[in-house]
Amino acid sequence: MTNRTRYFMLGSTLIVALGIGTGLVAFYNGELPLLNSRTGPEELAYVPSSATGLAYANVQQIMNSEFRQRVKQLLPTGEAKDELFNETGIDIEHDIDTVVAAFVGAEPNQPPGFVIVRGRFDEGRIETLVRQHEGTVADYKGHRLILMGGGTSGEPLHGVAFLKTGMAVLGTETAVKQAIDTAESHDDITRNAELMKHVAELEGNQSSAWAVGNFAALQTNMSVPEQIKANLPPMQWIAVSARVDGGLSGRLLAEAQDDKAAADLRAVINGGIAAARLVGGKDVKLDALINSLQMGGSGKTVELGFTVSPEMVDVITGLGAAAQKPAVDAGKK
């Protein structure tokens, strides 16, 4: 065997060994960040693998969208928004970039979840505000944990912790601590392959906002009346995504427990669309809106898509403005 052949064999074996070694390290120790273009936002590193639901919103994209500018006139100005700005210095429109909400309440006694906000915060100002309202500031695993509420009423303490510059987690004290613990243990949601499969798909659709959840777990934990629960179709996963640009487009995806359940659900939705057409009557605008709904999916999946074009937004905002005008006129009189 020539040296050339030996070098080739060595090189080839090294490539295979490198791949298998990398895979083994990833398999036993979690992901390798350098090699991985991470699925989902960075905040997922704080969401425990046991989480049953996730939601994400790119607030900046939504705020800056043409769609939002079009519907702005219909939105309330909000005194609460100004109050928040005066007290904390946070301007929701400009200072919040993204929001991630995690539902981790797998058991009834567990905290329902937490919200991770990314943006620009005046940490000192927020800390002072909390202290003024009898809040306390503690250190938890190297993070400033600001706690408030609770006390004698028996309600859980609520807290905020700054995970890193420009990233804060909000929730009950237990939930906030759980987020910090998760990042430390690396036992995060990216290890939950089933949920991450849906997240990857939602992300791939370039959505401005999305939410995905294990339907059975959410149903168990949320306070849904028994009567409604009994009539809900047997679904496993439910995911919803929306893309906001000039218009608004979205997609609702449900994964039923079996093909029959999915077929039943599709029939119910089709029935609902048909009923909406009847109620809409000869209203061209409503008819256009209903026509934008698209049913799809096969096997266990049920998919409902919708698109609100920029022209349709103008029509709707026109209607809204028209509806608001008499009220304003009445106020003037």
């Binding site: 065997m1 080739f8 791949g19 990833a26 273009s37 699925t39 392959a193 990857a200 791939g204 370039q206």
Partner: protein, 278 residues
């Protein structure tokens, strides 16, 4: 005083000797350039996809649904490796193991050596297997490292990749054994091999009934961890009539094919009278 006569080497040591000189010969032949191009294409494609994804380009979409890295990898394993590269390499290399020596009129030099004739086939077969495995597996690993991180995780997909590596090695071994036999027993082995791979196998797999049991792909494709894509009309039909053999059934039949065809190839070479055309 007489020196005792040297015992001729056994089948195993003779095979290893043939393997040793055949590997270099096979690896640096013109056929390897073809193999390099064939296995380089998926790597190049994976690198381009990864580059575009890293630059923020929207991902690939099928029916308005984004395709993530693991799905893409599964498609590449099916479309490139299982359905094309493995059978084609088996045909091109397997049929040429003895045919090349006959064509180059060098078979007589091998047969004049004091080694069992069957060792020539077995040694050359081992060289084929080493050569193809050394080229195909790194290609699969590189594709995996490039593609999986696109909205996928290496940790979750590692087991599937390990299974793919084993399956592709097994596939190369079996196709190689089958076509080594074809190369020794039939005239125009390349044509027969291509008809088998691109004619018989897809047709038998698409038909209902027992015919698919007489293919290699039936036992091999049933063990692939990734879902079979419906990327063509033939695939769609195949998926409709798809039966998946059990693991033990697949392993048993693949082992039988490997041993039987290799043994037949060695036996044919041992018994056949090669008349070299002048």
């Amino acid at each position: 005083m007489t020196t005792p006569a040297r015992r001729p080497p056994g089948l195993l040591s003779s095979s290893l000797r043939v393997f040793d000189f055949s590997l270099g010969e096979m690896l640096w032949s013109r056929r390897t350039i073809f193999m390099g191009l064939v296995v380089g294409l998926p790597v190049l494609l994976a690198a381009i996809i990864r580059l575009f994804t890293s630059l923020g380009a929207p991902g690939m979409r099928v029916n308005n649904i984004a395709i993530d890295g693991p799905t893409m990898f599964g498609l590449m394993i099916w479309a490139f490796f299982l359905r094309f590269i493995v059978p084609v390499l088996g045909v091109f290399y397997g049929t040429a193991l003895i045919a090349d020596e006959v064509e180059d009129k060098t078979i007589t030099y091998l047969f004049t050596r004091p080694i069992p004739r069957g060792a020539v086939v077995i040694g050359k077969y081992l060289a084929y297997l080493a050569c193809t495995v050394l080229v195909v597996l790194p290609s699969v690993v590189l594709v995996w490292l490039l593609v999986i991180p696109i909205r996928g995780t290496l940790a979750v997909n590692f087991i599937d990749m390990a299974k793919d590596l084993v399956l592709l090695t097994v596939g190369l071994a079996i196709y190689g054994a089958v076509f080594a036999f074809v190369g020794t027993a039939l005239k125009r082995p390349l044509l027969v091999g291509l008809v088998f791979v691109f004619g018989w196998e897809p047709t038998a797999m698409a038909l209902p009934g027992y015919l698919k049991h007489f293919t290699v792909s039936y036992y091999l494709q049933g063990l692939v961890p990734q879902a079979m894509p419906n990327d063509s009309a033939v695939s769609l039909v195949q998926s409709i009539f798809r039966e998946i053999p059990t693991l033990s059934e697949s392993v048993l039949w693949m082992a039988v094919m490997e041993v039987v065809f290799l043994w037949l190839a060695a036996r044919f070479v041992a018994r056949k009278e090669y008349v070299l055309e002048q």
